[in-house]
C-alpha cells in the first residue's frame, strides 16, 4: 500500500543504517518520545541493527501508561454506576487500577464499550437518551482533535447525556521535565511525528534555547525511524542545535491550524499527574469551565479515591528513560501482559509490552 510499503523497504533501511555507521564517531543517547515508535523499533529490530555507539532510550509517549491511577480509579467508579454506558479506546480496558480494571467492571455487569472513534460514543449517546454516555478522553496532542470534536459535536446535537473524562497530556512539558532531571542521559529527541502533524513544531524552539539539544520530527515506519536517527546523529556530530523534520510528508512547521483552534476552544492548560512520574506543571489539558456540562468529573460524584500502586512496578523510571524493562525484577515474572502490574506492560505503546512481545 502507498505510503506504507516503500517505508518498509529493507534495502533502503539498510542504506540509511550504513550511512549512520559512516556518520557516527562517538556514543550518543537518543530518546524516542512515542511508544508507537518504541514498538516499531523493537519489532523491526532497529535497535539491534544500529552501531553500538547509538543507544535508544524509550520515552513517556504512551498515553495509556501515563494516565494517572486516580483517574483510572475514577473511570472504574463511573463505569460501575447503573445507567452509565462507559466508552473507551480498547487499550484502556486492561490497564490496572487500584486492584481492578475496566474488563473486570464489564465482567461484573458494567456497560463498558470499546469504541474506535470518539464520534462512536456520541452516536451511542444519541441513540440511548436514557443512558449517561461517558467517554474516557485520554491521549496526547494527536488524540485531542478527535476528542474535542466529540464534545463540539455533542453540543451541536444538543445532547445532555454525553460527557468526557479527560486525561490529556502534552509532549513539550514532558521533554522539559525529563531534561530537568539531574539523572537524564538524553542527548537528542526523536519527536512523535503525529503529535507534530497536529501541533507543528514551532513550540519546540523554546526547549532548544533552554536545553541546547537537537530534536528530529520522526515518523513511525522503519525507514522513517532510521531517517530520524540519521538526522539526529548528523546534528549531534556537527554540534548543531536545531529541529529537523524527517517526516515532512505528514508534518509542517505550523501543524494543523483548524485542529489547534478546536483544541483551544474546548481545552485549557492545566497541571497533570503522569502515572509513575508525578505532577508536571501545566503539562496537559482539561475542559474549559464553559464545557462543564460535558465534564464527567463534575457530573459524577465518585467520592474520595484512595489509590494503591504496585510496589514492584518501575514503570515511572522506564517512562523517563532512566531504566529499561529488563531492569525490573518483576518483568516477565510477576508482571506479564495477561496480569500486568503497570500500564507499560499493557499498551501497544508500552515499552515493557514491546520487550515482552518481541522477546528482548
Amino acid at each position: 500500500m502507498k505510503y506504507v510499503d516503500e517505508y518498509r523497504s529493507a534495502p533502503l533501511v539498510k542504506g540509511v543504517i550504513q550511512e549512520i555507521r559512516r556518520t557516527v564517531t562517538r556514543p550518543w543517547t537518543l530518546m524516542e518520545i512515542c511508544g508507537g515508535q518504541t514498538h516499531a523499533i523493537v519489532r523491526h529490530g532497529i535497535d539491534q541493527l544500529l552501531p553500538p555507539e547509538i543507544e535508544l532510550v524509550h520515552g513517556p509517549g504512551c498515553p495509556v501508561c501515563v494516565t494517572p491511577l486516580e483517574l483510572i480509579d475514577k473511570a472504574l467508579e463511573i463505569a460501575s454506576q447503573p445507567d452509565v454506558m462507559f466508552c473507551s479506546y480498547g487499550e484502556m480496558l486492561r490497564v490496572p487500577g487500584s486492584g481492578r480494571d475496566l474488563f473486570s467492571v464489564k465482567a461484573q455487569g458494567g456497560d463498558v464499550r470499546v469504541v474506535y472513534s470518539p464520534l462512536d460514543a456520541v452516536a451511542l449517546a444519541e441513540k440511548n437518551p436514557g443512558k449517561e454516555v461517558v467517554f474516557f478522553a485520554i491521549g496526547f496532542e494527536t488524540t485531542a482533535p478527535p476528542n474535542v470534536m466529540s464534545v463540539l459535536h455533542a453540543q451541536r446535537l444538543g445532547l445532555t447525556n454525553y460527557s468526557v473524562l479527560v486525561s490529556h497530556v502534552c509532549v513539550p512539558p514532558a521533554i522539559r521535565a525529563i531534561l530537568s532531571s539531574p539523572d537524564h542521559r538524553v542527548q537528542s529527541f526523536l519527536l512523535a511525528g503525529h503529535v507534530n502533524a497536529v501541533m507543528g513544531y514551532h513550540e519546540y524552539s523554546s526547549l532548544l534555547d533552554e536545553f541546547h539539544i537537537p530534536m528530529v520530527v520522526t515518523g513511525f515506519e522503519p525507514l522513517d525511524i532510521v531517517q530520524g536517527i540519521l538526522k539526529a546523529v548528523q546534528l549531534l556530530e556537527a554540534g548543531k542545535i536545531e529541529i529537523a523534520n524527517a517526516y515532512s510528508r505528514a508534518v509542517t512547521f505550523d501543524g494543523l491550524r483548524p485542529a489547534q483552534d478546536s483544541i483551544h476552544q474546548v481545552f485549557m492548560e492545566c497541571d497533570r499527574t503522569w502515572r509513575g512520574i508525578g505532577v508536571i506543571p501545566m503539562s496537559g489539558w482539561c475542559l474549559r469551565p464553559e464545557f462543564d456540562r460535558f465534564n464527567a468529573e463534575k457530573r459524577f460524584d465518585v467520592g474520595t479515591i484512595k489509590t494503591q500502586e504496585s510496589s514492584l512496578c518501575i514503570a515511572g523510571q522506564i517512562l523517563q528513560g532512566l531504566k529499561k524493562p529488563h531492569d525490573c525484577p518483576a518483568f516477565g515474572v510477576e508482571c506479564m501482559p495477561e496480569s500486568p502490574l503497570g500500564a507499560t506492560m499493557v499498551s501497544s505503546e508500552g515499552a515493557c509490552a514491546a520487550y515482552y512481545k518481541y522477546k528482548r
Binding site: 500500500m1 516503500e6 470534536m149 451541536r156 503525529h194 501497544s348
Partner: protein, 82 residues
C-alpha cells in the same frame, strides 16, 4: 494510541453536519471525519487517527525524501562494487 494509518479518500460526504469520508486502507474501508482536513480531495491520502484525518500527506515531500534516501542506498551499492 498516537498511531495513525495512511488511507486513500475514496468518497466525501456530509453526515450530521460533519464532513466525512470513506477511506481505503489497502482494501479495508472505513469511515473517517475530515473536519480538520476539509481540503482533502478524493484520491488523496491522509493520516487517519481514531477515525479522524489529522494530516493530508504531501506526495511531493514524500517523493523528495524517498529520492534522497534512495541516493544513500545507491551510494552504498557503488562503494560495495568498488
Amino acid at each position: 494510541m498516537c498511531l495513525g494509518v495512511p488511507g486513500k479518500i475514496v468518497e466525501k460526504y456530509e453526515k450530521g453536519g460533519l464532513q466525512m469520508a470513506k477511506v481505503d486502507f489497502g482494501g479495508v474501508f472505513r469511515e473517517a471525519c475530515l473536519a480538520y482536513v476539509p481540503e482533502a480531495n478524493v484520491g488523496e491520502y491522509c493520516i487517519i487517527h481514531v477515525g479522524f484525518a489529522i494530516s493530508l500527506l504531501s506526495e511531493s515531500e514524500a517523493n523528495e525524501t524517498l529520492d534522497l534516501l534512495k541516493q544513500i542506498g545507491t551510494f552504498e551499492e557503488e562503494i560495495g562494487q568498488g
